[in-house]
């Protein structure tokens, strides 16, 4: 199969997609949706079935080596698949964060046995993975993790708390960053572990967001035993692994590990600005059309920028940290798009019924306008990365370097 040309692959994918898949539906994508739990669980179950269908059709794990259940093909094949997916449903929970960044980082850093067990399981739709990185004490300063792992025979014992994982209550496994050495400097005392979420010792609490969604979770880890064989990367190398998670996450839909419609607009759950304008009765209004044009301009420029950054990183013309450039653009464009939609919806955005069509409920989405600029790393942190790592400007002074982590000043525990 590895000799399959991109065009052969594309033709095969197209035939299968058209014969098999349903249309992309409003709420199919994983995200911060406000809806009954049964519906969310049904959507998760459907994603598992969908992923299995991709696998059985020989369309899962396009760039993943065959020994781990994938096809061993190229990013160009993945792009072809994504292009053919436009307008169709896809297993979003298996793309982000399961396959990228989690699967991608397993491939890079996990021990052989772990890879052979879990990558095929992911590709078969059996395992949804999460990132356990942020903690109540801080997400931006991720290397300041307080969750602690202590060696005990061939195991590690983890205690602490992780937070802001979207969907942990229906997920299976997690990559968990933990401190294994409090006497080493901040970045040097961390180690990454793979662990099943549903086990005694992990309590998952759903957190209600201000739009009513309950996908955000906090996890409490109490004496969780993790065998050393489930360690991902060397002891003390957790930060290196974590930065790869961030890297793959920032690549978003340009990651070769991500299966999702290439035309992102066709894949999103939300109504388009133009549809909102129509249903608000404003499609002929030149002001409304200016906003529609603005949103589309940002879409097109953002997509072009994503492709440029991905290509530049692939060819080595841009540093890996340039992914923060695309990330920052995306966060700001999302914020602006949310505002544009709210503006277009007019009064129906804040007082609506079913007759308001696409304009209904836009105010609810606008409440969480900043979500995209916080999740996946804040826009401020992206600016720090660009300034210091891409442009090479002076680093901020920090009080956490070159001293044992236990001596680093900390705020009051939350």
């Amino acid at each position: 199969m590895s000799s399959e040309s991109v065009e052969e692959f594309r033709a095969r994918a197209r035939d299968w997609i058209r014969a098999t898949l349903g249309p992309a539906s409003g709420y199919a994508a994983a995200g911060l949706n406000h809806r009954p739990e049964e519906e969310e669980l049904a959507a998760v179950a459907h994603d598992r079935v969908l992923q299995r269908r991709f696998f059985d059709a020989g369309l899962a794990g396009v760039v993943v080596p065959p020994e781990y259940g994938g096809l061993g093909l190229t990013p160009a094949h993945q792009r072809a698949l994504n292009e053919e997916l436009g307008g169709y449903e896809w297993p979003s929970r298996f793309t982000v964060p399961t396959m990228s960044p989690c699967g991608a980082v397993l491939l890079e850093h996990a021990p052989e046995e772990l890879k052979r067990e879990h990558l095929p399981a992911i590709l078969r739709g059996e395992e949804i993975w999460m990132q356990f990185l942020s903690e109540p004490s801080g997400g931006s300063d991720m290397a300041g993790a307080l969750t602690t792992a202590v060696a005990d025979g061939d195991d590690w014992v983890l205690n602490g708390s992780k937070i802001w994982t979207t969907g942990a209550w229906w997920a299976d496994w997690a990559l968990c960053l933990a401190r294994t050495d409090w006497d080493a400097p901040k970045h040097a005392g961390l180690t990454m572990f793979a662990l099943p979420i549903r086990q005694r010792g992990i309590e998952v609490r759903q957190i209600e967001m201000l739009n009513g969604a309950r996908d955000f979770c906090q996890e409490y880890l109490t004496d969780v035993r993790v065998p050393d064989t489930h360690r991902v990367g060397e002891v003390g190398q957790g930060w290196t692994v974590a930065t790869r998670l961030l890297f793959h996450e920032r690549m978003q839909h340009n990651s070769p590990y991500v299966t999702s419609p290439a035309d992102a607009r066709q894949g999103t759950a939300e109504a388009s600005p133009a549809a909102i304008a129509r249903d608000a009765g404003r499609l002929a209004d030149p002001l409304a059309r200016d906003l529609v044009g603005q949103a589309r301009t940002l879409d097109l420029a953002g997509a072009a920028l994503q492709r440029r950054v991905a290509a530049g990183i692939r060819s080595g013309q841009l540093p890996d940290t340039a992914s923060a450039v695309a990330r920052l653009f995306f966060t700001l464009a999302q914020v602006r798009a949310s505002e544009i939609k709210f503006e277009l919806a007019g009064g129906a955005g804040v007082a609506w019924d079913e007759t308001d069509g696409a304009a209904a409920g836009v105010g609810d989405s606008f409440l969480i306008r900043q979500a995209g600029a916080i999740g996946g790393g804040t826009s401020e942190m992206a600016r720090n990365v660009i300034a210091e790592r891409v442009l090479g400007l002076p680093r901020e002074t920090a009080r956490d370097r070159g001293i044992p982590f236990r001596d680093v000043p900390r705020g009051a525990a939350r």
């Binding site: 133009a274 530049g312 600016r383 660009i386």
Partner: protein, 371 residues
Amino acid sequence: MFLDLTSDQEFFQETTAKFLADQVPPATLQGFADGVPADFEARYWRRGADLGWTSLLVSEDAGGGSISGRGLEDLCLIAYEFGRHAAPGPLVPASLAAAALGQAGTHPEALAELLAGTATAAWCHAEPSGGSLDITSDGGDLVLNGAKRPAEAAGRAKYLLVTGRLDGDFAQVLVPAAAPGVTITPLRTPDYSRDFAAVAFDGVRVPASAAVGPPGQAGQQVAWQAQAALVLAAAESAGAMRAGFDMTLAWASDRYSFGRPLASYQALKHRLADMATWLEASCAIAAEAAAAVRERSPDAAELASAAKAYTGQYGTELMHECVQLHGGIGLTREHDLHLYLRRVVLNRALHGTPAEHRQRIADHVVTREGL
């Protein structure tokens, strides 16, 4: 501007960059406040033609030739360098006129002059509000009446490529700038290494052979030229943004306040990060639009408008931020920053403002979404 250059393209771009740095360094441009001297520009343009600037949109059969087989992208590289050096010269009108002649296979002598850089052309396309340009057939002749403005580089052009309406359909005609009935009135502009004019046509009579392509069937060619003008403006603005940004980055690193470099203040670092993002996005959208227009792909018009809308808005946004981060010196004529600011200010309003292009994009969206 493009990341995926061939080594030939890299060499081509590099050669032009060196030439511009040598011929029109900031100190020279600073002396052009009253316009670029005619003899200087003529010599400079001929040498540019030797470097290949004029031939890129013309096929080899017609005497032209590109570097990569993707002529419009090659020309965008030059436009980018023009922006980066705030360079003078009728790059866009001369190239588009040559493209039109080459495509139609007419006017071989005029085309040869344009390719050699011994003559230049202006494209008379934009019209004053409420204006129009009517072309009528009269015996064996074509007669032009109406007005065009702004027409870039019309003041020194030997030829005018005039776009007008013949019985309601687009036609293009090549008119000698010296033809009786043509009046060229210079306009003022903030970018003093460019020049613009208003051109009036009062019963201008040319033989039918002046037509560029079959009269009344120029619609597609005109649309293509207009899209090409948009992506070239976008590429040029991206180049000017690069120059302004690089200067500002260097300035912020070298200048101290309160005992530390400006570039060490997080508030300013964050703004520089935003600017870097606008700059990369400008390069990205300009490059994708250029490829789409060159391929005449179905989304070319929308992408060209998006490139123009984005670089128009964020080009000036970035350059004004550059001024802001320079402080008082950024507002002066003696500092070179204004050279690049002038270019993005010009390009923002030329060929349609960002808001006008957003309206066009909305039309595409509404059509595509079937609303």
